[in-house]
Protein backbone atom coordinates (compact mmCIF):
# COMPACT_ATOMS: atom_id res chain seq x y z
CA UNK A 1 0.00 0.00 0.00
CA UNK A 2 1.42 3.42 -1.00
CA UNK A 3 0.62 5.57 2.02
CA UNK A 4 2.20 8.72 0.58
CA UNK A 5 -0.01 8.50 -2.52
CA UNK A 6 -3.13 7.96 -0.40
CA UNK A 7 -2.17 10.88 1.86
CA UNK A 8 -1.70 13.18 -1.16
CA UNK A 9 -4.99 12.10 -2.69
CA UNK A 10 -6.85 12.58 0.61
CA UNK A 11 -5.31 16.08 0.82
CA UNK A 12 -6.42 17.00 -2.71
CA UNK A 13 -9.91 15.56 -2.11
CA UNK A 14 -10.27 17.68 1.04
CA UNK A 15 -8.95 20.70 -0.88
CA UNK A 16 -11.64 20.11 -3.52
CA UNK A 17 -14.32 20.00 -0.79
CA UNK A 18 -12.95 23.24 0.75
CA UNK A 19 -12.94 24.98 -2.65
CA UNK A 20 -16.53 23.88 -3.42
CA UNK A 21 -17.61 25.18 0.00
CA UNK A 22 -15.74 28.42 -0.73
CA UNK A 23 -17.68 28.72 -4.01
CA UNK A 24 -21.02 28.47 -2.18
CA UNK A 25 -19.79 30.96 0.43
CA UNK A 26 -18.73 33.40 -2.31
CA UNK A 27 -22.26 33.08 -3.76
CA UNK A 28 -23.67 34.21 -0.40
CA UNK A 29 -21.08 37.00 -0.23
CA UNK A 30 -22.03 38.30 -3.70
CA UNK A 31 -25.66 38.43 -2.46
CA UNK A 32 -24.50 40.51 0.52
CA UNK A 33 -22.87 43.15 -1.71
CA UNK A 34 -25.79 42.90 -4.21
CA UNK A 35 -23.48 42.00 -7.11
CA UNK A 36 -24.96 39.90 -9.89
CA UNK A 37 -21.66 38.64 -11.27
CA UNK A 38 -20.99 34.93 -11.23
CA UNK A 39 -17.50 34.90 -9.68
CA UNK A 40 -18.57 32.09 -7.36
CA UNK A 41 -18.43 29.84 -10.43
CA UNK A 42 -14.64 30.31 -10.60
CA UNK A 43 -13.98 28.20 -7.45
CA UNK A 44 -16.41 25.61 -8.84
CA UNK A 45 -14.38 25.52 -12.07
CA UNK A 46 -11.20 25.28 -9.97
CA UNK A 47 -12.66 22.31 -8.06
CA UNK A 48 -13.60 20.59 -11.35
CA UNK A 49 -10.11 21.12 -12.78
CA UNK A 50 -8.59 19.84 -9.51
CA UNK A 51 -10.82 16.76 -9.71
CA UNK A 52 -9.41 16.10 -13.20
CA UNK A 53 -5.90 16.41 -11.74
CA UNK A 54 -6.81 13.96 -8.98
CA UNK A 55 -8.33 11.55 -11.53
CA UNK A 56 -5.12 11.59 -13.57
CA UNK A 57 -3.08 10.98 -10.39
CA UNK A 58 -5.27 8.03 -9.33
CA UNK A 59 -5.17 6.48 -12.82
CA UNK A 60 -1.37 6.81 -12.99
CA UNK A 61 -0.75 5.36 -9.53
CA UNK A 62 -3.33 2.60 -9.40
CA UNK A 63 -3.47 1.48 -13.04
CA UNK A 64 -0.39 2.46 -15.05
CA UNK A 65 2.31 2.03 -12.38
CA UNK A 66 1.29 -1.56 -11.41
CA UNK A 67 1.21 -2.48 -15.11
CA UNK A 68 4.68 -0.96 -15.60
CA UNK A 69 6.00 -2.91 -12.58
CA UNK A 70 4.55 -6.11 -14.02
CA UNK A 71 6.27 -5.45 -17.38
CA UNK A 72 9.61 -4.77 -15.63
CA UNK A 73 9.27 -8.06 -13.71
CA UNK A 74 8.37 -9.84 -16.96
CA UNK A 75 11.41 -8.50 -18.88
CA UNK A 76 13.78 -9.78 -16.20
CA UNK A 77 12.39 -13.32 -16.24
CA UNK A 78 14.72 -16.00 -17.76
CA UNK A 79 12.14 -17.02 -20.41
CA UNK A 80 12.01 -13.46 -21.81
CA UNK A 81 15.75 -12.86 -21.57
CA UNK A 82 16.30 -15.91 -23.80
CA UNK A 83 13.88 -14.59 -26.45
CA UNK A 84 15.14 -11.42 -28.18
CA UNK A 85 11.86 -10.72 -30.01
CA UNK A 86 9.86 -10.88 -26.78
CA UNK A 87 12.39 -8.66 -25.02
CA UNK A 88 12.06 -6.01 -27.75
CA UNK A 89 8.24 -6.06 -27.55
CA UNK A 90 8.22 -5.67 -23.75
CA UNK A 91 10.90 -2.97 -23.90
CA UNK A 92 8.75 -0.97 -26.35
CA UNK A 93 5.75 -1.48 -24.11
CA UNK A 94 7.68 -0.19 -21.07
CA UNK A 95 8.72 2.88 -23.07
CA UNK A 96 5.05 3.45 -23.96
CA UNK A 97 4.04 3.28 -20.28
CA UNK A 98 6.79 5.74 -19.35
CA UNK A 99 5.59 8.25 -21.98
CA UNK A 100 1.96 7.86 -20.80
CA UNK A 101 3.00 8.42 -17.17
CA UNK A 102 4.95 11.55 -18.08
CA UNK A 103 2.01 12.92 -20.10
CA UNK A 104 -0.40 12.25 -17.23
CA UNK A 105 1.95 13.97 -14.79
CA UNK A 106 2.06 17.03 -17.05
CA UNK A 107 -1.76 17.11 -17.33
CA UNK A 108 -2.18 16.61 -13.59
CA UNK A 109 0.16 19.42 -12.52
CA UNK A 110 -1.07 21.80 -15.25
CA UNK A 111 -4.61 21.28 -13.92
CA UNK A 112 -3.34 21.85 -10.37
CA UNK A 113 -1.78 25.15 -11.46
CA UNK A 114 -4.88 26.27 -13.38
CA UNK A 115 -7.11 25.52 -10.36
CA UNK A 116 -4.92 27.63 -8.07
CA UNK A 117 -5.01 30.56 -10.54
CA UNK A 118 -8.82 30.38 -10.81
CA UNK A 119 -9.17 30.35 -7.01
CA UNK A 120 -6.87 33.34 -6.55
CA UNK A 121 -8.71 35.32 -9.26
CA UNK A 122 -12.11 34.72 -7.59
CA UNK A 123 -11.05 35.86 -4.11
CA UNK A 124 -9.01 38.81 -5.50
CA UNK A 125 -11.97 40.06 -7.56
CA UNK A 126 -14.27 39.89 -4.52
CA UNK A 127 -11.87 41.73 -2.21
CA UNK A 128 -11.54 44.47 -4.86
CA UNK A 129 -15.33 44.86 -4.91
CA UNK A 130 -15.56 45.34 -1.17
CA UNK A 131 -12.49 47.58 -1.07
CA UNK A 132 -14.08 50.21 -3.36
Amino acid sequence: MKYDVLLYEAGILTLIAAIVYMGFTLRKLTAVVKEKKLIWLLPMAAATVLAISLGAHIYANFSLLPELSAKITEISSPAVIADQAKTDIIRASIQGFKVSLLNLKTVSFSAFLLASILLLISTSVYIRWISK
Binding site: D4, G11, A18, M22, A31, S108, S116, L119
Partner: protein, 115 residues
Protein backbone atom coordinates in the same frame (compact mmCIF):
# COMPACT_ATOMS: atom_id res chain seq x y z
CA UNK B 1 10.12 18.60 -24.79
CA UNK B 2 12.70 16.38 -23.18
CA UNK B 3 11.96 14.27 -20.10
CA UNK B 4 14.12 16.56 -17.94
CA UNK B 5 12.24 19.65 -19.12
CA UNK B 6 8.89 18.02 -18.34
CA UNK B 7 10.17 17.08 -14.85
CA UNK B 8 11.33 20.66 -14.27
CA UNK B 9 7.97 21.99 -15.47
CA UNK B 10 5.89 19.67 -13.24
CA UNK B 11 8.08 20.45 -10.20
CA UNK B 12 7.71 24.20 -10.80
CA UNK B 13 3.95 23.81 -11.35
CA UNK B 14 3.58 21.87 -8.07
CA UNK B 15 5.44 24.55 -6.08
CA UNK B 16 3.76 27.51 -7.79
CA UNK B 17 0.29 25.97 -7.37
CA UNK B 18 0.88 25.53 -3.64
CA UNK B 19 1.88 29.19 -3.30
CA UNK B 20 -1.12 30.39 -5.36
CA UNK B 21 -3.56 28.18 -3.37
CA UNK B 22 -2.12 29.64 -0.17
CA UNK B 23 -2.58 33.18 -1.52
CA UNK B 24 -6.15 32.43 -2.65
CA UNK B 25 -7.18 31.10 0.77
CA UNK B 26 -5.34 33.94 2.53
CA UNK B 27 -7.28 36.56 0.52
CA UNK B 28 -10.48 34.72 1.52
CA UNK B 29 -9.31 35.11 5.13
CA UNK B 30 -8.94 38.86 4.55
CA UNK B 31 -12.51 38.96 3.20
CA UNK B 32 -13.70 37.26 6.39
CA UNK B 33 -11.70 39.81 8.41
CA UNK B 34 -13.52 42.68 6.67
CA UNK B 35 -16.89 41.11 7.58
CA UNK B 36 -15.67 40.65 11.15
CA UNK B 37 -15.27 44.44 11.34
CA UNK B 38 -18.57 45.19 9.51
CA UNK B 39 -20.82 42.82 11.48
CA UNK B 40 -18.84 42.86 14.72
CA UNK B 41 -19.17 39.08 14.86
CA UNK B 42 -16.48 36.39 14.84
CA UNK B 43 -15.99 35.30 11.22
CA UNK B 44 -13.17 32.88 12.11
CA UNK B 45 -10.82 35.03 10.00
CA UNK B 46 -7.86 34.09 12.24
CA UNK B 47 -8.38 30.41 11.42
CA UNK B 48 -9.03 31.19 7.75
CA UNK B 49 -5.80 33.17 7.49
CA UNK B 50 -3.57 30.68 9.32
CA UNK B 51 -5.09 27.42 7.98
CA UNK B 52 -3.55 27.74 4.48
CA UNK B 53 -0.02 27.95 5.98
CA UNK B 54 0.20 24.17 5.66
CA UNK B 55 -0.15 24.52 1.88
CA UNK B 56 2.78 26.96 1.92
CA UNK B 57 4.83 24.53 4.06
CA UNK B 58 3.93 21.81 1.50
CA UNK B 59 5.40 24.02 -1.25
CA UNK B 60 8.53 24.76 0.79
CA UNK B 61 9.15 21.09 1.54
CA UNK B 62 8.67 20.29 -2.15
CA UNK B 63 11.25 22.99 -3.03
CA UNK B 64 13.68 21.38 -0.56
CA UNK B 65 12.98 17.94 -2.06
CA UNK B 66 13.45 19.08 -5.67
CA UNK B 67 16.42 21.40 -5.23
CA UNK B 68 18.55 19.79 -2.51
CA UNK B 69 20.52 16.78 -3.59
CA UNK B 70 19.43 14.36 -0.89
CA UNK B 71 20.98 11.02 -1.62
CA UNK B 72 19.13 9.07 1.06
CA UNK B 73 15.80 7.88 -0.38
CA UNK B 74 14.43 7.35 3.16
CA UNK B 75 14.89 11.08 3.95
CA UNK B 76 13.36 11.99 0.58
CA UNK B 77 10.32 9.81 1.29
CA UNK B 78 9.95 11.25 4.79
CA UNK B 79 10.11 14.79 3.35
CA UNK B 80 7.42 13.96 0.80
CA UNK B 81 5.22 12.28 3.42
CA UNK B 82 5.53 15.31 5.74
CA UNK B 83 4.64 17.67 2.86
CA UNK B 84 1.52 15.65 2.03
CA UNK B 85 0.53 15.51 5.72
CA UNK B 86 0.76 19.32 5.94
CA UNK B 87 -1.36 19.59 2.77
CA UNK B 88 -4.06 17.33 4.25
CA UNK B 89 -4.16 19.05 7.67
CA UNK B 90 -4.23 22.47 6.03
CA UNK B 91 -7.05 21.49 3.67
CA UNK B 92 -9.05 20.09 6.62
CA UNK B 93 -8.58 23.32 8.61
CA UNK B 94 -9.56 25.43 5.56
CA UNK B 95 -12.70 23.31 5.11
CA UNK B 96 -13.58 23.73 8.79
CA UNK B 97 -12.96 27.52 8.74
CA UNK B 98 -14.97 28.04 5.55
CA UNK B 99 -17.89 25.99 6.91
CA UNK B 100 -17.93 28.13 10.08
CA UNK B 101 -17.85 31.40 8.08
CA UNK B 102 -20.51 30.08 5.71
CA UNK B 103 -22.76 29.15 8.64
CA UNK B 104 -22.44 32.66 10.06
CA UNK B 105 -23.27 34.21 6.66
CA UNK B 106 -26.34 31.99 6.33
CA UNK B 107 -27.69 33.16 9.69
CA UNK B 108 -26.96 36.81 8.79
CA UNK B 109 -28.74 36.49 5.43
CA UNK B 110 -31.68 34.76 7.13
CA UNK B 111 -31.87 37.59 9.66
CA UNK B 112 -31.79 40.17 6.84
CA UNK B 113 -34.50 38.27 4.96
CA UNK B 114 -36.77 38.19 8.01
CA UNK B 115 -36.52 41.98 8.48
Amino acid sequence: MTEQMIQAYTNTAAILSGILFWAGFLVFGFIAKRYNTVFNKSTFHGLLMTAPSGILIYSMLMIVKFTMVIKDPAINNMLQLTAYAFLLVSALLCLFGISKFSGLLSSLLKYEGSK
